[in-house]
Symmetry: C2
Subunit: 503 residues, 2 copies
Amino acid sequence: MISRSPFGDTFEYSVSATQEQERLEQFVQNSRKTVVIQGLGFVGTAMAAAVANAKDASGNLLYNVIGVDLPDEANYWKIARVNKGLASVVSTDTSLDAAYTTAHANGNLTATYSPFAYTLADIVVIDIHLDIKKKQLGNAREYDFTFERYKEAIKTVAERITNDTLVLVETTVPPGTTEKVLKPMFELIGRQRGLNTSTVHLAHSYERVMPGKEYLSSITNFYRVYSGTDDAAKLATREFLSSFINTKDFPLTELHSTTASEMSKVLENSFRAMNIAFMQEWTEFAETAGVNMFDVIQAIRVRPTHRNIMAPGFGVGGYCLTKDSLLADWSYSTLFESEKHDTQKRLEISLSAIDINDMMPKHTVEMLKSAMPDLKGKHITVLGVSYLNDVADTRYSPAELFYDLCAKEGAVMQLHDPLVSYWVEKATDVHTSFDALAGLKHDAAVFAVRHSNYLCMTADQILSALPGVSLIIDAFNIISDGTANDLRARGVKVLGIGKGHWN
Amino acid sequence: MISRSPFGDTFEYSVSATQEQERLEQFVQNSRKTVVIQGLGFVGTAMAAAVANAKDASGNLLYNVIGVDLPDEANYWKIARVNKGLASVVSTDTSLDAAYTTAHANGNLTATYSPFAYTLADIVVIDIHLDIKKKQLGNAREYDFTFERYKEAIKTVAERITNDTLVLVETTVPPGTTEKVLKPMFELIGRQRGLNTSTVHLAHSYERVMPGKEYLSSITNFYRVYSGTDDAAKLATREFLSSFINTKDFPLTELHSTTASEMSKVLENSFRAMNIAFMQEWTEFAETAGVNMFDVIQAIRVRPTHRNIMAPGFGVGGYCLTKDSLLADWSYSTLFESEKHDTQKRLEISLSAIDINDMMPKHTVEMLKSAMPDLKGKHITVLGVSYLNDVADTRYSPAELFYDLCAKEGAVMQLHDPLVSYWVEKATDVHTSFDALAGLKHDAAVFAVRHSNYLCMTADQILSALPGVSLIIDAFNIISDGTANDLRARGVKVLGIGKGHWN
């Protein structure tokens, strides 16, 4: 079997349970504690690096770290890369690669497909996803959600851990999951296996990992929230987190229950999503009233009580802000509320915010059409298809809705992104250089992501990249007033989201 | 005629235009510039104190200040008090009284009912209110609004100012007011009066005055935003604001238009209102899920990007947060949007937030009824009727809806507030001492405002003030977990808004 990584390397693999078991038993033959990380995705990859490089006061490595992922086409490459001393996430953070190189040299980090690893664990960290799917963009109240696959995966842990293993859940889950879904499962399986079920120690702690240049550091140098289902779990989690997080500068916060920790995570992201959605109606107001909303935001942010007011933009994407409120809503309406009330309670504002954010790119389409009513056959260039500046991640990118709406009207879509050469979700190639763009026809162009490469471009540079363009929309405060004026002097119409003063 | 102040003093008055004109002409017989402040309410009172005490680098007073208000029963007392060297606002800020004493001694502050004052002004500051009234609580989309009274008042200024007077509007107004409503009026009247209309200089700047102990300082030691209808107005406003604001520590922000400045103000307050409303649904979720939301909020606020997340509470009151989004909505749907679209655009999220906040106290009623289903004949004591902690202001206090809903169910309502002896809006007496409460019967009590007097009360102190009480609801995070446990040990049921861990 062959597994191909997004780095371009390919790995042949076959599965041998006995061999792998022996290898892992050998790997933990030392006095260090063993941490097994389930899931080598975006969080697990950084966690493995952070934990493998944790040392005690004397400089001795603290842990054996075993990353676990699946032996299939989509995932095996992660295992293979880690075992070669390479990170399993594409990142601009060079310290991540360095951490993998070091851990590989130290010999205390390995990866495997064998669930036997959980048998060896003092601590298991759950870093697998729990998905929730909207049935339709723009109606967040309707979604498909089930715990089945998630529980299936965690069952492989419950079936193998020994007494007093700490199981630390880092997944973003509906509040109540650890207490009401996982704990009963661990206790049932524990009883069946003849474990002392009072030694089942479950905890929840959520990371605040950010993609980009500070990816690994966002694990080790940032605040953490945690809780456990019993005091032993809380204590063990505090000790574990303190061993690889700089808690001197970023003290830990212990909450009273895992439900509180789980709620804290989804609330954080819902707060952010809601503040973005709130700004959308004011952005449209500012455009109507001729106001530069970015200036206004700057004027407001000087107040400490108002520092978190968000700025106008093109849209919201990524894995978290687009869905975490739905997990919370599912919990509220299904896991808790149904026990107490006849009527189903929902997180109305938070769900509305998701809808507004999901539909945001439509406003840029409307702005485009206000100046170019018929898009049919027009060559529209989108600059930026990732969901965030200086990041290659295209999951739930707002560019997707923009692309679909324009394409539906018959526009010829052209894409550029310095970090994305292939847009998986749209199965489309993306130009990564301005030179490549220069050879194309351009009727209108939309700057959609605040990639460093797009900031501070002069009118000359823009027109070299987009020869013949007659309309430019700055959807994310990328073009300065001066450059916009220079472009206008060259006959280009320039509009901008939140830039009412350009009308 | 008699005018009675909220301080309890009464003033007899009669109007003599000629005498007053002579007195004012005499008052400005010096080389200082003259600033006339229209409206001696909450903002005008602090502004008059700040401006009258402004000095140049050599320590010389900069301005003659004339406060203007109406010679009627409701307002004349303000004029009389200022002319005796007394402030015209009830405040716990002792520096305000000191500022009035000093200005009175210096002889550069007076007040009058005579609009002749505007004739003498170099600068007129507009500090009168512009009201907007909801037709019904809980439906912010329907309101009564008209500019007529506001324009009538400002017309008295336009009819009297001389060339090159700066008119600085500080009122919270629908964005666009200065440019689209006031400027045409000033230009028309200016032309009729034979003024050089290019010398009409209008500006907008909004204060961020806060009631309480730092009332006056919140004028002089805080950030300001401003703009003007022309460069001369901007320059004159910057010079004027810099003369009494500590701009070294709190630099001014100039925006590109008065509409931007006006929008900034209502957006600030809408941001705050929306963040409070957002928390309401999560508060109810936390209560259902057994989570202490205050702990969660504290865990989240360590993130700089999340520092402004609001905490659960009893409700939202006061003059600004309850209505500023409506002013913005009126502007969007009427002043601007109607020109451009067939369909009326509204600030949907911001209006919903107002509705949620207006109805918040209903949730405390529901919590009360969850433990005491039949309120008929029950003695319910409300601790705190003002809209904000340590402030006597009861305008749009959330206690009002709570009072009405309980009273409607036949409860006997009893009120306490250390700062309010008479609740104007409900025309009801309020107990100010705990001793007075101790003589009453108490079935349930609700702590509704975070007044200093209520914080840190022990169970003994609470039970001395509320003898016989069987149910206490902490609606604003006033009672500690320890005190709640002590109360429970004494047989009192204790519930709390956002305190799911108390369930």
